[in-house]
Symmetry: C2
Subunit: 305 residues, 2 copies
DNA sequence: CTTAGGTATGAATTTAATTCAAATTTAACA
DNA sequence: TGTTAAATTTGAATTAAATTCATACCTAAG
């Protein structure tokens, strides 16, 4: 009766605190999860959660099953990795390029986990900025690009990672501080602080400002923290992934606003040649990124695999 | 994709070595198990077993998943026990009566496991022989009888354990040594060696010899080993559970034969008052007996729970 | 070359999980 | 005190998955 699926559900509920979010994370409807949990409760004739309008709280029985999940799921994942390795050459090379600057934030724990899982694979970060990172794949200079999907995906294969919201970052006393979301026009005549990359690689410019023909000043900084300092000292506004700015927002250095009517979302993929993406360790890299990021980055949504 | 159900299947296959037997043990058809395993193999794109006309052998990948099963299933069972305990009083008393003499063989490991699981419950064996053990339940002298179902089950509740085959035991040079199975008539004028209990409590007499009106001599011995020695030294023949005689047969002290055309099978239940059998630790006793015996006694078949 | 004892297969069936479309609950707000 | 928003529940309909049934297939032994 109890199945691994249930344990995964419990884990998702624990991580999100809400049935709806948990359901989304494991690609079910909220209703399905409700039914599933209810079936468990009926089966064991025990209550697993205290429900309220703010979410679920584990009862001791629920906690006991959650403990089981936390004990079992890592073992299961390890076994599944072992199975993959049993049928494949375990060694290889994996040169990673990041399209997106902020991704450095989570890359370190990912690389650590990957090296632990695939000690025989040589992982490297391809250094420097590249105006067309996907080109490096065909040129044999890199194995995987982590970024958005390129327009022409000739001979390239991709694995879905997650999507995240890019939010506008303002100083706390900015004139727009009371709007709940900023529209393209709000950026007119503002100074936009970005990483030093071409405009076509900056989502807010490509997808919001340019289409609306908004004129603005641009200023660049290399590091996220430098950008935040510029914003905090009222030199301009920025647009950054919600998970990259959380700390600064919590400490009231800056405030964050949604962009556009439904938010500005960006999707991340692991992209490589078909030959490379067929390798088990490349698939596993994607899995590890999804795992690590789902655990560490608040507000992201995993894409359907 | 991988579910606990699959792990249970793998365990059953490991224990039986054959798809058909494994399927029976987990109450599925052979076909269902075959489909299930095939689905796993397809999913991971890996072969789990080498099939042959004598059964299945685990490949390294299969073994890896079996290892996972052996690691996980005990943890899961422990959690389920904890859930039961979370909703119930954990203490109580459990006085066990054995209807069947040979059952002492497996009772010790069962009691050990039970004491570990329910340290607060006082377990006792009700000593001595009782001509009507079920009566002790209503008299308040015992809590659970382990034996066959009584004819009148007034106010009694039972939990199914397992069934086993009772086989005839002969000295290796007996005149009937070449028959593959003994019929009632074969016992005519033989000496039957039994435990010292009334004839109505000896299955072969009640179900085979008496209906066929066979006359025979009876001789008794207290212990299984004593009965075996009498048989080996040609003082008579006996009828004992297949699992109780395995050792002696393997060492060629004695030989074993099926009884009747389809074998003589006996079923074992845990029987108690409704009040007692509703208690979680009584249900758990039955589960422990099933588990321990399925693991230790060759040739038994678990009854549907 | 047949049989016995095992597994595999495909279609039909049954069972279980999931979705869909409300309904309900509850706290916060005006 | 009603209204809304954000959550969960519910029951019926749907979809997907597991299981069975009936039979085919395989292989070693006689």
């Amino acid at each position: 009766m109890l199945e691994i699926r249930h344990l995964k559900s419990l884990k998702a509920i624990a991580e999100t605190g809400k049935l709806g979010l948990a359901a989304e994370r494991i690609f079910l409807t909220q209703s399905a999860l409700s039914h599933q949990i209810r079936a468990l409760e009926t089966h064991y004739d025990i209550v697993l959660f205290e429900r309220s309008n703010i979410g679920l709280r584990f009862t001791p029985a629920g906690q006991r099953l959650l403990d089981l999940a936390n004990e079992l799921l890592p073992l299961i994942e390890k076994s599944e990795r072992d199975l993959i390795r049993l049928k494949s050459d375990q060694s290889g090379e994996l040169r990673i390029v990041l399209e997106c600057h902020t991704c450095f934030d989570w890359l370190t724990p990912v690389m650590d986990a990957f090296r632990r899982a695939w000690p025989e694979v040589e992982v490297d970060l391809v250094a420097g900025f590249h105006s067309d990172p996907w080109h490096l794949l065909h040129a044999g200079k890199a194995d995987v690009v982590i970024g958005g999907l390129p327009d022409k995906i000739k001979d390239l294969q991709h694995l879905a990672l997650f999507k995240f919201e890019i939010m506008a970052v303002l100083p706390p006393d900015h004139a727009l501080r009371n709007k709940s979301r900023l529209l393209a026009a709000d950026f007119a005549n503002e100074t936009l602080i970005t990483y030093p990359v071409p405009e076509t690689r900056i989502d807010i410019i490509r997808q919001v400002l340019q289409p609306a023909n908004i004129s603005f000043t641009r200023r660049t900084a290399e590091l996220t923290i430098a950008i935040m300092q510029l914003v905090a000292s009222r030199r301009g506004i920025a647009a950054l992934p919600s998970w990259g700015i959380q700390n600064y927002v919590e400490h009231d250095y800056v405030i964050a606003k949604h962009i556009g009517t439904s938010g500005l979302w960006s999707e991340l993929y692991a992209i490589g040649t078909s030959e490379m993406m067929a390798r088990p360790y490349a698939k596993d890299l994607a899995r590890i990124i999804r795992d690590v990021c789902a655990g560490n980055l608040k507000g992201i949504k995993l894409l359907a695999p």
